[in-house]
Structure formats: structure tokens, C-alpha cells
Amino acid sequence: MTSRRTPNLMRRWLTQALLPLAAMACSLGAQAAPPLKVGYSDWPGWVAWQVAIDKGWFKEAGVDVKFEWFDYSASMDAFAAGKIDAVTMTNGDALVTGAGGAKSVMIVLTDYSNGNDMIVAKAGIKSVADLKGKKVAVEQGLVEHLLLENALKKVGMKDTDVTLVNAKTNEMPQVLTAKDVVAVGAWQPVSGEAMKAVPGSHPIYTSADEPGLIYDGVAVNPASAKARRADWLKLVKVWDKVVAYIDDPKTQPDAVKIMAARSGITPAEYLPLLKGTKLLSLAAGSKVYVKGEGFTSLYGSTKIVDGFNLKEGVYKAPQNVDSYLDPSFTNAK
């Protein structure tokens, strides 16, 4: 959804500039109050938590947790300011937020994008190779930019082989109607709207072609992860139940109904969005939480994002990727 990954460079800069103040404020105000506070926002892998909330599964599991609904950028601001204990975000944004000073550890993966992120091209363009020398619009420094780079690399090109046009993700449907732009990068539902805006346009590359390009999860304040480890473990356990409930064809309609209500649309509209997201059970998460290279490893994927962020000047110093990932919660028996 467009709310996911909307931070632009300006916002990042501001957050960093204001962070010393934020840190000061949180040192004044944060005496860990009993309920865990988690900020979540409009992305299927995170809206999924709504099922557990509505069903009362946290109470059953004996963990006192309060989920707060945010706009994605706002949720990261609140986390950076120390106002919430955890936030749902992408592994890439965890690095960006951490580079700004608010370190986190990702204790559980919720999903990876499985088709929701896409490069949409006009009718004449049959494959990624056809983009050579043409104008392609992406929001610079964000995941779709990374997706495009990945797509180009696979056919032996670099992002200098196409002419990049920097545009806001929300505006991609209109950008695609421009004569000389042949393709745009966007995630759902913007990518879907882009296809509606230009009949005949179609995805030529999606996150399903490179599963693991973007991982989503719950990132926790390291201090809280340590101090309230038992509570966080219980929360992670609930996740398995959520995934099972959504994936089970028998209960899926009920789950989709709950999720659609959270997003303010109809279940029918919601279903395709869910399909573009691969939810990860704890077992599936464990397989990804292993050190390795490439996108099949959370570590490998995060390293690639780190390199990309450095190259794009999102932050200056490379991040210690290992410190952002803690497999022990997901792997706990």
C-alpha cells in the first residue's frame, strides 16, 4: 500500500536532525509502562495482526500488548522518538531508522512482498530488456528503485542503461500516461491504478520474481527486547496462529473481512492485495533467518539493501546488519 515505505529523503533528514531532541524527550518520558506498545500500519503483512487483536489472542497468550494504528511514516517517527516499543517496518527502513539513531532488532518476520511491488510497462514493452535507453520512473532511493536495479542486473544491464525519472510513488499512474515514460515502479494499490490508467500496460517484473527482495517484520527497541523478552516471545508465538488462520481456506474469508475492515475497503478489494504478500509462519521465518548471501537469506537481503542505501546516499556509514536481526525469538521452541 502506498502508506508503506513513503519516507522520502527530506523526511529522513528531518527525523535525523530532530533526533537528539527526540532522544532527550524520550529519556524524560519513557518509563516502560506495562503494556507493550506496537505501531502498525496499512500493509497486509501487518494488518494481519488485526486478526489476533480482534480475536483476543494476545490476552489468551497472557501478554499485555497495545497495537496503535499509524500512517507508516508516522509510525517510524513515533518509534524513533521512543514513544512505542516496537514498529512494523521493512528490513531496509529498519536500517534507515537505525542510521538516524533509533536502533532496533527485528524479532519476527511477517512476510515478504510477493508481487505487490512491480515495474509496470506500457503495451509495447515486452520484457525488462526492452527498457534499454528508455525513460523509467521510480521514486529514487526507495524499494522500487532497488527492484528495478535488480531486474536490470538479471538481464545484464545497469541503472545507467535506462533514463531514470524521479517521481512520487503515489503519482505513478499519472506519470505512466506521459508519452515518453515507458515504465514505472510502484507497489499496490498504486501499481494496480497505474495499470488501470494506461490500458494495455502490464507488469514486466515484480517482487514475485525475486522473493525476499523486501522483508517485513516487527522491529523492537533493543532495550525492551532484552528487558521484556518473555512478553515478546509470547507475541511472536501468536503470529504463527495468525498466519495459520489466514492461510487456512476455511477461515480465510473471516480473516480477510477483519483485515479489509481495518483498511477501510471491501473484502473483495482486499483479496488481491493479500495474494501479493507471502506471509511467513515461524517455521518459514526460521529458514530465512540464517546467515547467507542473496535474497533467500534475511541477512543477505538486508546487506544488499544496506549497499543500496549507501550508494543512494540515504545514509553515510554502513550499518552492522547482524545487530539489527535477532533470530532467537523466531527460533525459540
Binding site: 524527550a25 496503535e68 517517527d77 522518538a81 494499490p189 490500458p199 479489509a260 483498511s263 477501510g264
Partner: protein, 304 residues
């Protein structure tokens, strides 16, 4: 008077209705009913009229089934009855999500944010503005700084506001305050300066001095104008709501708008905008009437 004001809405409404219901006026799109042989057409999809004609011609040539469709306006221009229906359902249907607020509750939440923001801003801004306008020395000392500050965009303070005030209503109210306060001081200082100097002099020759010059002369002297300024500033505060409610936890009416816009449910967006408009316009109309009643001596009131 009110009837005349409402009258000015009739023309736009008429234009909107004509554009919505008379297909030959605009309707640049075709809404697909049956895709026929066109591989990428889907029922309900909006395509350009030319595109639809082109595809129909292609299908005829290839001897495939023709697509069918009806003229339609772009998705961002819903018809009046769709908006009216959205308005009705928004207030009458229970929210899908458990424990989620009803629309009128979201609305009330937004109104409270505005009112608190405006009250806090006024509590400091009005007295400060009057003092700045009355005493040149104070004005010269503080106004350049305020002048500078008012150019800083209120939304830029979002992250800071959250850091200091938490994630609930505090930072939202703070954004309204930041957006209103600086303008308020300058505008009210200016209004105060425009008070006829001889009124103050007359009061001084009658034995008034010190604080009573402000409470007994300046304040009543500018009150009708101050009231008008406050009405304008209140409208201003509303425009910051959309930014304020995206800070911290998502809530209120403008969150509903951005959420619905994201999924291109424009009839809901228009309905919510309509509600805000009605509340803003209605309250201003009400305050205007109240002004007539409160300031019987105010001669400029006939113009408002």
C-alpha cells in the same frame, strides 16, 4: 441572508449534476461491461473512449466478440447521488472493524483537536498580539522572530511534536497550535495597531492609565475586529487538520479521507470533504450571527 448564501451553491451543484448525468457533455471514459474479445478488459474497468473504439474496431476486424460499455467520468469525479449515498451510509452503517469509531465519533475527535489547538493558541496568541500592537517596543522585539517562525512549515514539526508530546492527541494539537499561533500574533497585533489613536488619548485625558488602557479601551475597541480575525484564523486551523491527523496514531476525519483516497474511493472522499465544509462554513455562519448580537455598535458588520 442565509438563503442568498446557499443560493451561491446552486450553480456549482447544477454544473456538477450536468457533467455527471448528461453523457454528451464530458464522459471521456468508457466503463467496460462485457470485455468481449479484448484480452485485458475487465468488467468495471475504465478505459479511454478512443482506446475503447480502437479495441472495438480491432475486434470487429478479427471477427471476435465486441466489448460493451457505457460512457463514464473519470474515477475522481463521482456523481452527486453517489456522494450523497456515501454520506448517508457513512453515518448510518456500523464500522466494519470491531471497536472502530463511527464516522461521527471520528468527526468529533477532529473537532476536539481543532478546538483545543485553537484555544491554546488563542490563550497566548491573543494577549501577546494585543500587547505587541499596543506597545511598540514589545512589538519590535518579538515580531521579527515571529515573522521568521511563521514561514517554517508546521508539518515539519511532526516528528519533534511526537518526540515531545507522545503519539496521541498532543502532537496533533501542537501542529494546529504551531500553524495558527504565529499568524495569530501578527494579525492581532496589526488589528490592534489600527485602533484609532485618539480613543486612547481621550481615555488618557479622562484619567485612564496602565493596564486599564488595555482592558477598558484597546480590548473593547478592537473586539469586533478581533472577533472577525479569530473567525478567519479558526478556518485556518481547519486547514492544518489534514496534516495534524497523520502525525502520531491515525485518527479523525482526515485520516478517513487519506485512507479512502489511497484506495480511490472518491465518493467517500468527497462526502468527508463535504462534511468538513459544512461544519466549517456552518460554524462560521453561526459565529457571524453571534457577532451581530455581541457587537451592536459595530458598523462594519453590515458588510460581513
Amino acid at each position: 441572508m442565509i438563503a442568498r448564501k446557499l443560493g451561491s451553491f446552486l450553480l456549482p451543484l447544477l454544473v456538477w449534476s450536468l457533467v455527471s448525468y448528461l453523457p454528451f457533455i464530458w464522459h471521456p471514459k468508457v466503463q467496460v461491461e462485457a470485455p468481449g474479445g479484448v484480452d485485458y478488459f475487465l468488467p468495471g474497468m475504465l478505459v479511454d473512449r478512443e482506446e475503447f473504439a480502437q479495441q472495438s474496431a480491432d475486434m470487429r476486424q478479427q471477427g471476435l466478440a465486441l466489448p460493451t460499455g457505457v460512457p463514464a467520468n473519470p474515477i475522481y469525479l463521482p456523481a452527486p447521488h453517489q456522494v450523497a449515498k456515501a454520506l448517508y451510509t457513512a453515518f448510518t452503517t456500523e464500522p466494519e472493524q470491531k471497536d472502530a469509531p463511527w464516522l461521527h465519533e471520528s468527526l468529533w475527535q477532529s473537532i476536539q483537536i481543532i478546538l483545543w489547538g485553537f484555544l491554546l493558541s488563542s490563550a497566548i496568541g491573543v494577549p501577546l498580539g494585543i500587547v505587541c500592537g499596543t506597545y511598540q517596543s514589545v512589538g519590535r522585539l518579538s515580531e521579527p522572530f515571529i515573522e521568521f517562525f511563521r514561514y517554517l512549515p508546521a508539518p515539519a514539526f511532526g516528528a519533534l511534536a511526537v518526540a515531545v508530546l507522545g503519539i496521541y492527541d498532543g502532537p496533533k494539537i501542537a501542529i494546529i497550535v504551531i500553524g495558527t499561533f504565529f499568524q495569530q500574533v501578527l494579525i492581532i497585533a496589526n488589528t490592534t495597531r489600527k485602533l484609532e489613536a485618539t480613543l486612547i488619548e481621550a481615555a488618557r485625558t479622562l484619567g485612564t492609565r496602565g493596564v486599564r488602557l488595555i482592558t477598558r479601551v484597546v480590548l473593547p475597541g478592537i473586539l469586533p475586529d478581533l472577533y472577525r480575525d479569530q473567525r478567519i484564523l479558526l478556518g485556518w486551523a481547519w486547514t492544518y487538520l489534514i496534516v495534524a491527523e497523520l502525525i502520531g496514531t491515525s485518527s479523525g476525519i482526515t485520516f478517513f479521507i487519506t485512507q479512502q483516497a489511497r484506495y480511490q474511493h472518491f465518493e467517500n472522499v468527497y462526502a468527508a470533504m463535504l462534511i468538513i465544509g459544512v461544519i466549517g462554513f456552518g460554524s462560521d455562519l453561526l459565529l457571524g450571527r453571534l457577532g451581530h448580537f455581541l457587537f451592536p455598535w459595530d458598523r462594519t458588520r453590515d458588510r460581513t
